[in-house]
Subunit: 179 residues, 2 copies
């Protein structure tokens, strides 16, 4: 993994900070919106809908970047909450990803690679969400994040898959029985 500090326009003295499990780094409605690079630990970004239900946009383990890009690019208050699922070490990048001043060609090229990867992942996720039943989405989740199922509670996996914990529980029991 390239050093993400290098690729993005970080202050010389931007240091990583430690946050205990449960810390909320960003609330819905915050403005302006920061970006976060995870050095150690695990974050989630999510929304709460008008019924109070949580929907997880993404998990971010070590080496991942988390940002509410929709809010940044449209210069709106944050849509997403960002929260630590474990004690985490995070670089808080004040300023958004749209500011690329002071970066050289190599940096920009690497940023493009990261963004294309993110777009590809979102494309897959959206297509799965539209076309695949919950059981397929669960199997895909396990394949892509083999280490996460043991690291986070089931109800968070359910919130990521777009189903209830009860539905996930019955899917899992079906999968166990079918073996």
């Amino acid at each position: 993994m390239d050093n993400l500090n290098e690729i993005f326009r970080l202050d010389q003295n931007s240091k990583s900070r430690n946050f205990p499990k449960g810390s909320i780094l960003q609330h819905q409605g915050d403005f302006p919106v920061s970006s976060y690079i995870v050095k150690q630990g695990l974050l989630k970004s999510y929304t709460i809908d008008e019924k109070g239900k949580e929907h997880i946009f993404m998990f971010a383990p070590e080496g991942w970047i988390v940002a509410d890009i929709e809010s940044q690019i449209f210069e709106q208050p944050a849509e997403l909450f960002i929260e630590c699922l474990e004690d985490s070490e995070v670089i808080v990048f004040n300023g958004d990803l749209t500011d690329t001043s002071g970066l050289n060609k190599e940096h920009l090229t690497k940023q493009i690679q990261l963004m294309l990867r993110r777009i590809g992942t979102l494309q897959r996720r959206l297509i799965m969400m539209m076309s695949a039943p919950a059981i397929k989405r669960y199997e895909y989740f396990v394949k892509i994040y083999p280490n996460l199922p043991n690291r986070i509670p089931q109800k968070l996996i359910a919130a990521y898959l777009g189903i209830t914990p009860e539905a996930l529980s019955s899917i899992r029991s079906k999968l166990l029985k079918s073996k």
Copy 2:
């Protein structure tokens, strides 16, 4: 709108080509995968699931770029079909978006802006798909693409929203009655 020809690494002599309505520019399984810049007309990119059902990933009117970025970045055969919904003028960009050689800083910066915008749009769409009922997704679609509803058949809107044409029809009649 910046000239997209400039921003991307196009051959000097890459010319736009005309395709009649119904032309399929890319089939699922094609390899390698091209990118497409729409000069005039309207394209759709979509998958067909194992039950034969169509799911529209995006519509691309004039000025939009269409590419199966997931397949490009992971170097896999195309996942998406790409088809003309109207007679269209399209620049076929042989080679994928991951190749940025020969571009200068300004080009790369503009590419990053376009990609962030795409990520922001996908973020919103995914969150809506997870958390909003079909009627809200329809209202959002109409808000974002005010000219498309009169330009494409309803069943395509349904395939974009992730519901059946029948469900969309009943949503629309509910909206009409409530006025």
